[in-house]
């Protein structure tokens, strides 16, 4: 890696218009530092994949500029492609070939010398845990195995920047977590810059150093997950007393800690003016009033709250993938009372 | 099960099937164009075959091939209906039908009605093109009634065959299985010349192929010289009876499937 060609992504005023329909990408600016995991978050149709296609040279931008690994995506396409690896949406694999045959084709097309091809194939298949399934046709692979092979294929030429377009869509929790671990390892241990699109808040939150939220082709928020969440508000605590008659008393106590917020029918909630650290004080104050509690819940602001604040909609409502439903609940800690 | 529910189910299924046939070019064009095309290719391209020694069909080669193409379109009309049933199973429509229809026999009859309508549309086109291209008809009205009656029975038999396959496999993957046997039976018959001019293995196969009797009877009708009529109708009705059982078994299998 040289100073002239850092493993970074810089985009300015990137636009993509299609003949029919509105601007898919409407003037976005991006800065992704070398070694960073950047989460590009948005609902279906927000412009995530179009952005990735432009940054990976598969789609010329209508306007704007982008430098990937220091190369211009329009004028230096081949240089960009040498520096990047990509696993695009819908693991694009040939069901009639085996995992090893995919690797052999990919290593050959990338021009690896014949002896290196075999070693690299073995190494990567092992790394993604597919050595046992390597000689099975991909048609028999599970969704998670396909994604892992997809990742291995993206890594054959040791790229400095990795683009992952919705890498875990449709995967079960176990496969998702395994992929997250591998992506983290690539960034932390190998210094690979990762540009990851997702419609899962949890994924962006867990994996990304920084997050960009895209909606209708525009970036509506950008920053670290903590900063974004901090920007839009404080955590909420919700208390459900054992007896419904205690609700008023609970409300009085909670009133000392912040303004009222929406809660379940049996509960009372407030936004903690002093942040999460006040949770212990709240419990102590309620205990001092001898109010028996059924349930105490701390709800930290989630990226969905950020999305809501920036777009007026929840990500759940904006997207159409039912998988997303389970991911939008934010971070919730439940304390048995 | 009331008569009204039977007819209303049959009518609803037929309407839907005909509607999708008429509004979907992917269904309409092959079933309309292929018979016309075969007619042009056989009657036009091979007309000199009628000049081979001992070829004895005074009505002309165009009429000779018209009968083959008529029966072929009757059979393939039924096969295309089978494709429609398979697609209905793939997209879940048939599952809804099986759940909702008070009389499931009406479903099969509905598809058969659609197949007949489809065949009639094709035949009108075929007759118009044949007449324009100068086809002779030596048979009288009764003969022609016999010819088209035979074709109708063939259409019903093929529909029942294809429906039986479609309801067993319940996927368009079953398409070749519906199509290939029909194709084999049709082409292992005296397609280009009369049976007596065939030699070798094809003569042996064609002699026992029921399609041969259908073709010979049909050609007899159009020539005004009916032949093997009883054998042909018996063969056609026998196929209907056989494939009705086959289709009923398919319906049972579809009903029993998860």
């Amino acid at each position: 890696m040289t100073a002239d060609h850092p493993a970074s992504i810089e985009a300015t005023g990137l636009v993509r218009e299609f003949k029919k329909g509105p601007r898919a990408v409407d003037g976005i600016d991006l800065h992704v530092a070398p070694g960073e995991i950047f989460g590009f978050l948005g609902p279906n149709g927000a412009g995530k994949s179009t952005t990735v296609h432009m940054l990976t040279t598969l789609l010329p931008p209508t306007a704007g500029t982008a430098l990937v690994a220091g190369y211009d995506v329009v004028r230096q396409g081949p240089d960009v492609r040498r520096a990047i690896g990509a696993a695009l949406q819908e693991a694009a694999l040939d069901p009639f070939l085996t995992g090893r045959e995919h690797m052999r084709l990919q290593t050959a097309l990338h021009g690896l010398p014949p002896d290196v091809r075999i070693a690299r194939t073995t190494e990567l298949l092992e790394r993604v845990g597919l050595e046992d399934a390597a000689d099975r046709k991909v048609g028999s692979y599970s969704g998670g195995m396909k994604r892992r092979l997809d990742l291995a294929l993206a890594l054959v030429h040791s790229p400095r920047i990795l683009f992952l377009d919705e890498p875990t869509t449709g995967l079960d929790i176990q496969s998702r977590t395994a992929l997250w671990d591998e992506v983290s390892r690539l960034a932390r241990e190998d210094g690979v810059t990762v540009f990851l699109t997702t419609q899962y808040l949890e994924e962006a939150d867990v994996l990304a150093d920084r997050v960009g939220i895209i909606d209708h082709g525009r970036i509506v928020a950008e920053g670290t997950p903590a900063a974004l969440k901090g920007e839009i508000g404080r955590p909420t605590v919700e208390i459900v007393p054992c007896a419904a008659t205690d609700r008023e008393a609970v409300a009085d106590v909670l009133g000392r800690f912040g303004e009222r917020a929406g809660a379940s029918p049996k509960g009372v909630a407030v936004r903690l003016a002093g942040g999460e650290g006040q949770l212990a004080d709240v419990v102590r104050a309620l205990d001092a009033e001898h109010i028996p509690l059924e349930h105490v819940q701390l709800h930290a602001p989630s990226l969905d709250d950020v999305f809501l604040a920036k777009t007026g909609r929840t990500l759940e409502g904006a997207g159409d993938d039912e998988e997303a439903v389970g991911q939008v609940t934010g971070e919730t800690e439940t304390v048995a009372a | 099960m009331s008569r009204a529910s039977f007819t209303s189910v049959a009518r609803a299924v037929a309407w839907r099937s005909i509607h999708s046939y008429l509004t979907n070019p992917a269904f309409l064009i092959p079933s309309m164009i292929f018979p016309l095309f075969f007619f042009m290719a056989f009657a036009g391209g091979l007309s000199s075959i009628s000049q081979v020694p001992n070829f004895d069909f005074p009505t002309g080669y165009t009429a000779f091939q018209f009968v083959f193409v008529l029966l072929q379109s009757a059979a393939f009309g039924g096969v295309f209906t089978g494709f429609g049933i398979a697609v209905d199973f793939e997209n879940g429509f048939s599952r809804r039908l099986l759940l909702a229809a008070p009389n499931r026999g009406g479903i099969v009859v509905g598809y058969a009605i659609a197949a007949l309508v489809r065949a009639l549309v094709t035949w009108v086109m075929l007759v118009v093109v044949a007449l324009i291209s100068g086809m002779n008809i030596d048979g009288n009205g009764i003969d022609l009634f016999g010819l088209f009656g035979l074709a109708l029975i063939v259409n019903v038999a093929a529909t029942l065959w294809a429906a039986g396959v479609a309801m067993r496999i319940r996927s368009i993957q079953g398409g070749p299985l519906m199509q290939i046997p029909v194709f084999l039976v049709l082409f292992l018959s005296p397609v280009y010349v009369p049976l007596k001019l065939l030699t070798g293995w094809i003569h042996g196969v064609a002699s026992v192929n029921p399609a041969t009797a259908l073709l010979e009877a049909g050609r007899g009708f159009i020539a005004g010289d009916p032949a093997v009529v009883v054998v042909a109708f018996a063969a056609a009705l026998g196929l209907v009876a056989l494939f009705a059982l086959w289709a009923r078994g398919g319906l049972r299998r579809a009903e029993a499937s998860p």
């Binding site: 040279t57 789609l59 021009g111 294929l153 | 000199s48 075959i49 081979v52 084999l184 280009y192 094809i202």
Partner: protein, 259 residues
């Protein structure tokens, strides 16, 4: 061809062959269907050899040219639907992200198709000869038949690739099949042109390039070495191949718009 380009073509051709032979639905009909029609037509139309002026006493020999064309038609479908599937699944994008050259992609796919066609041609020829067809031009003629049928496959396969690249849809490529089938029927496939008595049909067959492809192969079976028929056959096949490959290359540039 540079070694890198050679490697790319070789690997893509290998993939094309492997995936074709792993799909019996692509291989079996292309072998069985033409041979079935050959069996039926050569028996059903054997009387046609009694027509005055018919060039041979064996209709099987006369008709043996047709399976090579039908096999080429299947190659349109197979090459086209395979590429269309690659477009639909995004596999083409994966390839586009490698240093793969566009020419290598087309060459690789076509090379794979040609290898499959080689097997098909050998089977048609061997089955035909075993069933009693003549080969007037001898062993050299057999090689010439295979060469011409591979050239035809190359051209037709490129048409399949062009259709896939333009439409990006396997269904659209499948829709071409009837169209090609029509061109095969409206040719001199069943009778020599001078024995087609229906004027419009003879006219269509005369202008139909497929007639000359069939006649080129047929001349080697029936006549021996007929320079004119071979020039026309090879010339037209080469012209179709060149035009189709240029069209496919241009369509690839539009489809694979990588910068």
């Amino acid at each position: 061809m540079s070694s890198a380009l050679g490697t790319q073509v070789g690997h893509l051709a290998r993939r094309s062959v492997v995936r074709t032979f792993r799909q019996p639905a692509q291989v079996v009909p292309a072998l069985i269907f033409p041979l079935f029609l050959l069996a039926v037509n050569s028996s059903g139309l054997s009387r046609a050899t009694k027509l005055p002026g018919f060039p041979t006493s064996s209709y099987l020999t006369f008709a043996l040219a047709v399976p090579f064309m039908q096999g080429a038609l299947f190659s349109v479908m197979n090459a086209g639907t395979d590429l269309a599937r690659d477009i639909e699944t995004g596999f083409l994008n994966r390839l586009a992200l490698t240093p793969l050259r566009g020419g290598a992609l087309l060459a690789g796919l076509l090379a794979g198709t040609v290898v499959v066609a080689l097997v098909q041609s050998a089977v048609y020829l061997l089955v035909g000869l075993a069933a009693g067809a003549n080969l007037a031009s001898g062993v050299g003629g057999a090689l010439a038949i295979v060469a011409l049928s591979l050239l035809i496959t190359l051209g037709f396969g490129a048409i399949g690739l062009f259709a896939a690249l333009r439409t990006g849809s396997g269904e659209a490529v499948q829709g071409l099949f009837p169209l090609f089938f029509v061109t095969l029927f409206l040719s001199s496939g069943s009778l020599p042109r001078n024995l087609i008595h229906t004027d419009w049909f003879r006219e269509v067959a005369t202008y139909n390039p497929v007639s000359y492809l069939i006649e080129g192969i047929r001349s080697l079976l029936v006549d021996g070495w007929n320079a004119q028929a071979l020039e026309l056959g090879f010339g037209i096949a080469a012209a179709i191949a060149v035009i189709a490959m240029l069209a496919a290359s241009s369509a690839l540039k539009t489809r694979m718009v990588r910068t």
